[in-house]
Subunit: 331 residues, 2 copies
Amino acid sequence: MNPKLRDVAEHAGVSVRTVSNVVNGFRYVAPATRQRVQASIDALGYRPNLAARTLRQGRTGLVALVIPEIDSPYFAELAARTVRVAGARGLTVLIDQTDGDAEREKELLHGKRSQLVDGVLFSPWAVAPAELAARTDPVPLVLLGEHDGTAGVDHVAIDNVAAAREATAHLLASGRRRVAALGIQPRSLNATARQRLAGYRQALAEAGLPAEPELEVPVGRLHRADGHAAMLRLLDAGAPPDAVFCFTDELALGALRAAADRGVAVPESVALVGFDDIEDGRYSVPALTTVSPDKDGIAELALDRLARQAAEPAPPRSIVAPHHLEVRETS
Amino acid sequence: MNPKLRDVAEHAGVSVRTVSNVVNGFRYVAPATRQRVQASIDALGYRPNLAARTLRQGRTGLVALVIPEIDSPYFAELAARTVRVAGARGLTVLIDQTDGDAEREKELLHGKRSQLVDGVLFSPWAVAPAELAARTDPVPLVLLGEHDGTAGVDHVAIDNVAAAREATAHLLASGRRRVAALGIQPRSLNATARQRLAGYRQALAEAGLPAEPELEVPVGRLHRADGHAAMLRLLDAGAPPDAVFCFTDELALGALRAAADRGVAVPESVALVGFDDIEDGRYSVPALTTVSPDKDGIAELALDRLARQAAEPAPPRSIVAPHHLEVRETS
DNA sequence: ACGCCAGTTTGCAACGTGGCATGCCACGTT
DNA sequence: AACGTGGCATGCCACGTTGCAAACTGGCGT
């Protein structure tokens, strides 16, 4: 059994309470006592029991990060940064993977981790706005990534519409005229794809170009395989595009691979822009032009909001994190 | 405040203990009682307090996964699988990121999460075998990935030496004669690189080729950037290799990019083999030949060992997970 | 009628910690 | 000499849960 306060107290010849005071850095402990107690702590290898502490003070020091997939590079990078930022604030991150499953998301939203964490950072995929509104769980929640019916919930995201518009405008500025949008999600409740599509259309409109349905390409999910398949279809169809705005870097990398499969030169014949600025895109051949969201910023802002909510009930806010267009070789 | 057992008990008109019995599926509860209690639970939205439960039973249902970096694709994929496998067993995974920092690893090894988790899956990077042997923390520990001085600790890994030998032999079998090994870590305590080097040398020896020092290429870390830089050096040096065995896929993807930068055709002029079978390698151009470790198997086996250790003290074992060579386009 | 048993329910205690209020002491002030 | 004050140490209790063992119930065999 691990040593407890009591053991340390006996060893040091003081009361349990005094040991507790030392452990918690309470002000009024005589230096000599403190030293003696500390020596006993070290000698016995005492470590506070987190369960007991949690039970007593009602806080766990844990934050849940709920994401569709850890092994999707964007989320992996976001998770890595979140863990780092949280660590600097004395918080530990618990990662929950939903696989984009609506049931799983619902569970987590309605308090599956309720008693275990002090806050939830939630990157929704399939969950409906109504579900969010119906939430009764008192644990602070911050949404990551865009969401439409901002149903009275904090959220942190970059301006997806503006970012998509910039990306598309960048392609148009280089003289491309048949710019496809790859990543439409017809049946998904996910707002991200919708907003990126909106930005794409805005850019076309601003350039005086009509939106052409056959250039708005749907996909199943947002992985390399989906980008690969969709790009093959696009290239094999009658009138291929001269540029493609992919809604994620993974899609773009799949598309890049598809271009290679068909012997289509990138960026000469088809330019590509991705979204997310994942590490892979820097080393692909050619390197991927992409929208780069400030992931550190997102993590910081989200944890700020959680802390604020934990301190006192605060009116929900939508917070916009910075982004920029990272121009590389595919455009 | 959340409702507690007591509130449910009052609502249902039974004792606290009976509610607890219902919650825990205790056998001897009359169907009628169970139903009534369940109704009260639902009505009040009761959820067990995990801190109290943990305090009482001494188990948390948490497992720590300690890895250098979440956003390194191999670890991301391993983490994703571990979370899934653990979830199926009713366990929650807590991810700790060490950034390969020896201090951080030491902390975690010596019980930083001691009171918070039931077990630790530890993928060491910088920590010395002596450190492992000196461990006194009673929490079950399983090492992931190879480690030399198996200092009385369970570990689960593929056979790195054999895998590296196969990869190198595969390159030699296609007629390559100047096969470089990219990923040596001169100053690292990390055993993985050492073992992969050993396998590489074995394969050379079996083919009757001498080990040439200038073909054994050191790197700082194992990322794309390191592979990129090392490959540039290799290509720019006097006698470039006709094949490169990279100790990780990330290194290989960086190397692939470097080959493109120098206009060197892959696999015509230089063949490449990686290690880890990360998703990116399937969609790179050309697609990466790689050693594919059974990541699901590793996660399963590691959690098996943790469970075994938790049940009773067991003599440490080294468990070998399967792997295979996945031949694609770079070789 | 009695005891026994399987089935069902219950009260008590304890897990290890921190909040609270209070006690104690030495010292300086009135 | 009595008093107040600030510094320090302590005991008691509650946080919400479950293990333990006892207690109650009704049916059944003797």
